[in-house]
């Protein structure tokens, strides 16, 4: 009987800390402050998805991963020029300021159909 009481009392400070942490960085607040994450996967010779829609003025994180070899991710109008290495996710933070439909290309030569590896970023 004694042992559970000890455990219970010992847990009180920990619970307090957890509650405090939750209060400081709870899900709703984190959701409000953190940029939206858009995951984009690359493999020869395509991006998945091949189109993403962003909102003008909204900061988002493009989380880029490669399933095979090193790829590039290049879009001059949004000043994106990233390398995507396999096994090493690359985060690119963007805040598009201009609406439009933009072709994004792999600019790291990845094989015979490299020239056709592209996707579209739509900014509304």
């Amino acid at each position: 009987m004694t042992r559970p009481k000890v455990l219970k009392y010992a847990m009180i400070p920990s619970l307090f800390v957890l509650v405090m942490l939750a209060g400081l960085s709870g899900p709703s607040r984190a959701h409000a402050d953190s940029p939206r994450v858009v995951e984009i996967s690359a493999k020869r010779f395509e991006f998945t998805p091949n189109q993403v829609v962003l909102k003008k003025g909204e900061t988002v994180i493009l989380r880029l991963t490669s399933q095979d070899v090193t790829h590039g991710f290049f879009l001059r109008p949004l000043k994106i020029d990233a390398i995507i290495e396999p096994g090493k996710p690359t985060d690119v933070t963007v805040t598009p300021e201009t609406a439009g439909s933009f072709t994004t290309i792999c600019d790291h030569f990845c094989g015979v159909n490299h020239g056709n590896m592209k996707m579209t970023i739509v900014v509304e």
Binding site: T70, G72, F74, L75, R76, D81, I83, F102, T103, T104, I105, D107, H108, F109, G111, V112, H114, G115, N116, K118
Partner: protein
């Protein structure tokens, strides 16, 4: 001796595109005498060569080994180009090949065989000097290792009859860039030249933003052009875009050669990057050579730049249009 001269007098770009490359004539203006002539004489003496007008050809994008649509002819246009060069009334001093000599393969042996085939066809050219730079299909997958095995360094410079030629590699780092090391080399290479020195840069990708979403650019091309900016007589020749193009950035003229395999359309007129469809009646349509002469009518004129494009057709070869002519002709 450092003397200025009119930069426009350096090179006459008068052209006749015969469908397969570009022939340029450098008119060093030595015959004109005065400061211009002195400058070229000085540069010529530096390189140990006689200063005289000369012609050279630019070829690009043969893609030896390519066997997919839209072009079913393989190396036929390249071979036709070689034949035409050998028939030119005045033999060119040089051929500059601006990349994509071969089509890439992940199989080293296959790619090596394609490079051998390229070399075999090239050797048929009755031209004293042939210089190359790689395209991404030659050097993008292996960092230029195979290319170097066959052709040596991917960037370098040389002098010919008073003109300084610089070959730049904007492909073998896999991304469209020359990189810091090559840029430092370029600045050092240029440092010994007067601002009036005639310079021809040849490379694969355009050094300016021609169509970035089609990968028609070099990401640090501005750095290259800034390094060249103090020099008044710079001409840039490139390939990659499979169509002829002329562009002026500042006082630098950029010229693209047509390809020897298939053509791309005008990016201002179409949305997607797709090759032009093969035309069996005009199999060499939009494949090209640009012959460039000094002055008009064969007489060198100062300060004259004239470009004339003439598309190669099969008709001139045997009087029969199209692919049937090629199939029926023994040498083809």
């Amino acid at each position: 001796m450092k003397k200025d001269f009119d930069r426009r007098s350096f090179m006459k770009i008068a052209g006749t595109s015969l469908g397969i490359g570009v022939l340029y004539s450098a008119f060093p203006a030595a015959a004109a005498g005065g400061e211009t002539g002195e400058m070229f004489s000085f540069l010529g003496k530096q390189s140990g060569e006689k200063v005289a007008p000369f012609s050279f050809v630019q070829l690009s994008d043969a893609h030896v080994g390519f066997n997919g649509p839209p072009d079913p002819l393989g190396t036929k246009a390249f071979e036709r180009a070689v034949e035409m060069i050998n028939q030119l009334p005045r033999r060119p001093d040089l051929v500059l090949f601006t990349g994509d000599l071969t089509h890439d393969s992940e199989d080293h042996d296959v790619h090596s065989q394609r490079m051998k085939q390229f070399m075999e066809i090239s050797k048929r050219m009755n031209v004293p000097v042939i210089k190359h730079v790689p395209g991404e299909h030659d050097a993008g997958l292996d960092g230029g290792a195979l290319y170097r095995d066959f052709l040596g360094e991917t960037y370098y410079s040389f002098d010919h009859r008073g003109v300084h030629f610089i070959g730049l590699d904007n492909v073998s780092r896999a991304k469209p860039e020359v990189g810091a090391e090559q840029l430092a080399w370029l600045k050092n290479d240029l440092s010994g030249f007067h601002k009036s020195a005639p310079i021809v840069v040849f490379t694969h990708r355009p050094l300016f933003d021609l169509k970035p979403e089609w990968e028609w650019f070099t990401s640090d091309g501005d750095d290259v052009m800034n390094a060249l900016a103090p020099y008044e007589n710079v001409t840039v020749l490139y390939g990659h875009i499979h169509r002829d193009d002329e562009h002026e950035v500042g006082h630098v003229h950029h010229y693209a050669a047509r390809s020897l395999i298939f053509a791309f359309p005008d990016p201002e007129k179409v949305a997607d990057k797709k090759p032009n469809p093969f035309d069996k009646d005009h199999p060499f349509k939009n494949l090209g050579i640009r012959l460039v002469h000094e002055g008009v009518g064969g007489k060198p004129k100062m300060n004259t730049v004239t470009v004339e494009d003439v598309e190669l057709t099969a008709r001139e070869f045997s009087g029969i249009n199209g692919i049937q002519q090629i199939l029926k002709t023994p040498n083809f």
